[in-house]
Amino acid sequence: MSLSSALNIAQSSLKATSRQTSIVSRNVSDGSNPDYSRRSAMLVYTDPGVSVVKIRREANDLLFRQNLSALSAWSGQGALAKGMDKLELQVNGVDNASSASTAIGNLQKALQLYATTPSNQNLGSSVVEAARQVVRSLNDGTKAIQDFRTQTDGEITTAVNDINDLLKQFEVANKAVVSGTRSGGDVSDALDNRDAILKKISEYVPISTYTRGDNDMVITTGDGTTLFETIPRSVTFTPSAGYAPGAVGGQIYIDNVPLKTTGVTDAPGKLAGMLQLRDNVTVTMQSQLDEIARGLVTAFSESATGQPTLAGLFTWSGGPAVPPAGTLVDGIAGTIKINPAVDPSAGGNPVLLRDGGINGAVYRTNPNAAGSGASYADRLIAYGEKLTQPMAFDPAAGITANSSLVSYAASSIGWFEGVRQQASTLADTKEALAQRTGEALSNATGVNVDTEMSLMLDLEHTYQASAKILTTVNQMLDTLLSAVR
């Protein structure tokens, strides 16, 4: 060993220390970036005394995968729960104030009042007004549901575009990783970038990944469809311009395989969540509204011996015929309306409701001659009873097939709130899981500024000592040279 080798070692130590300091500074500067993995410097000794710094990137594959699947579950469930909250407000209103059930309750009250004083025409008009609220609730509900479906369809289009963009970005990032790995350079930044894109993709669909040689990554969806392999696979979707009740929406194809959805309340990714909102929850809600509307037309229909049963207070696009019993009629909740014959604002006569005869004098049930019998209440009482008598509903709409119209309307709210409660509870647990796995991943791979600071102190000392050695050796050499002179 000689003084010059001491000088060399001190020099390489200075170099290594400054390299390490730059890593510490990078760690500190990216400390709050959730996609950043902590780098650490490893000293590798080549020649005796000469050290080279190698950079190691902290990674934890297991935690990262857990976090990916938790993220995807949470984002799907969150989309589902949020969508249901929105639907609840739009269709049923705050505290169910604009729901069909509430409106029918008010109609019952108005009927009761009118039945007690049938001679009071104003009460007849108020029954028609209460009926108009029912119609408005059903029409608005239908419109809200179909608008919601159309909006969701638009959101799916945006999401599909996003995921295609992300896959393209992923291709670039993956190429950078592969070529970096082949040339033996530092790929940490490229890996960070690729992981960040993976997190974003997993919000849309649940994914699983595996890494081949040269760090090349392949992505498949949860059910095994290839999403990326060397090149991105296309995700395609054909949006619809607008939705009508009963219309079926387009599928999402990943690599030409249709994306599957399961159940109503559990969504494994944003795309699946939106598909479920568009095709399951809203469709069932709409058919329940349709069944309520059909029930109303039937309950208020008029019949007479030897005559066909025809629509009364409520009529619809297929009126004056009454829709077939026990069968769902798509979109009837959107076309149900007050019969103009009893609507005072359309020149009709609400008294026809009391006496019968909306469809002509044959249907009159008041035994007194036209223009008399002002306190005939039997018919009004019968309407009130029909609302509480059991009738047959289409089981396709998802609730008990045999119940009264009023309890059907209440059950419809119960069904929806049941679904919403499940979706919301699941969203809470999945959010907690995503949060927890994110925390665990961050703890394993993230930066602790205090650790970096204490590292920096060490580095400072090393640097000072090396510098001291340099000056000391310099002094020694000077002393030697001056002796020679």
Partner: protein, 349 residues
């Protein structure tokens, strides 16, 4: 080497996350404390929300029926009152004809008593409440009884025509004095009675329907809730009063008038009996309505209790939860401030 590690961002994120959770929770609990109901009914009850919706609707319905029962009760008590007055009128007529049967039958006092009975009966039967004629059956917008005293009254015309058809001269004709008691009795039985107890009643006297107003008085109970003018009591009282009014003002002989007075006594007696019968009917309905209201009020109390059980929040619990949350949040703020100061950088000077 790394043993346990906590990343700086995980630390601050965890704090931020729990703070935002607690704040969201605080908003809900605050709402619960203000309204004493669960903040989000749907999320709290899930599929059982339909129960709460049904309870709320049934409550509204019960309350509206209780209200409408008040209307029915007032109609029935007015009816009861009117029936009582009609009984009084019949009683006065009975007193007058009893005097006539035993004392001076030719007196105009008897005729006036008949006229008065007829008038008060007509005005009682034509009384209305709330714009509805009480005794009109379901035909409540038409006066149930035609005024006998009005010009061109069909009832009077029919009576006069029947008299002329039977005897060949009107009752005011002097020849009427020769009519015997048997003849006049026969006239009352065969010609006058059908005008009241037969088809003549609806043709000349009454516009009321036999059908009465039917009302729903509880969730599943309906009842007739009015009295029609077409009851036997009314018909017989009208018959008695009309006979007195017409035959005592004519030129009938004393014997015939006495026979008429005796006959009218019987008819009025029957009318009073029938009227009492109707009164008790009205009373039974009144009782039913008030019973139904009482039952429904009890039901309302029960339902309200159920609703509170379903969606209510204990106010003490709500208040203590709000307090707990507030102190938690405060602690969390204090900790956050302390932890953020807790950095090695502060000591590296």
């Amino acid at each position: 080497m790394k043993t346990t590690s906590v990343s700086s961002s995980a630390m601050s994120n965890a704090m931020r996350y729990s703070q935002s959770r607690m704040q969201a929770e605080l908003v809900k609990r605050q709402k619960e404390m203000d309204t004493l109901r669960v903040a989000d009914l749907g999320l709290a009850l899930g599929a059982r929300t339909s129960q709460s919706v049904t309870f709320a609707r049934d409550l509204e319905r019960l309350n509206s029926i209780v209200d409408s029962n008040k209307l029915i009760s007032s109609r029935l008590s007015t009816t009861q009152d009117a029936l009582g007055k009609m009984g009084d009128a019949a009683q006065r007529l009975l007193t007058a004809v009893t005097t006539a049967a035993s004392g001076d039958p030719g007196s105009n006092v008897t005729r006036d008593a008949g006229k008065a009975a007829l008038q008060s009966m007509t005005s009682i039967l034509n009384s209305s409440i709330n714009g509805e004629y009480l005794f009109a059956g379901t035909n409540t917008d038409v006066k149930p009884i035609n005024d006998y005293g009005a010009a061109g009254s069909p009832a009077k015309a029919a009576f006069d025509a029947a008299f002329v058809a039977r005897f060949g001269f009107p009752a005011t004709d002097p020849a009427a004095a020769s009519i015997t008691a048997t003849q006049i009795n026969d006239f009352i039985t065969n010609d006058v009675a059908p005008q009241f107890l037969g088809a003549g009643w609806k043709a000349n006297w009454s516009n009321a329907t036999d059908q009465q107003i039917v009302s729903r008085i509880s969730l599943n109970e309906t009842t007739e809730s009015s009295i029609s003018a077409n009851t036997d009591g009314v018909k017989k009282l009208a018959m008695a009063a009309t006979i007195v009014n017409e035959l005592f003002s004519g030129n009938l002989g004393a014997e015939a008038k006495k026979a008429v007075a005796q006959r009218v006594m019987t008819i009025t007696g029957e009318a009073i009996g029938a009227n009492a019968q109707t009164q008790s009917q009205a009373g039974i309905i009144e009782q039913r309505v008030s019973d139904a209201s009482d039952r429904m009020k009890a039901q309302i109390g029960l339902f309200e209790k159920h609703v509170v059980d379903l969606e209510g929040v204990d106010q003490y619990e709500a208040a203590s939860r709000v307090n707990d949350l507030m102190s938690h949040i405060q602690n969390s703020y204090a900790l956050t401030a302390r932890i953020s100061q807790l950095s090695l950088i502060n000591f590296l000077k």
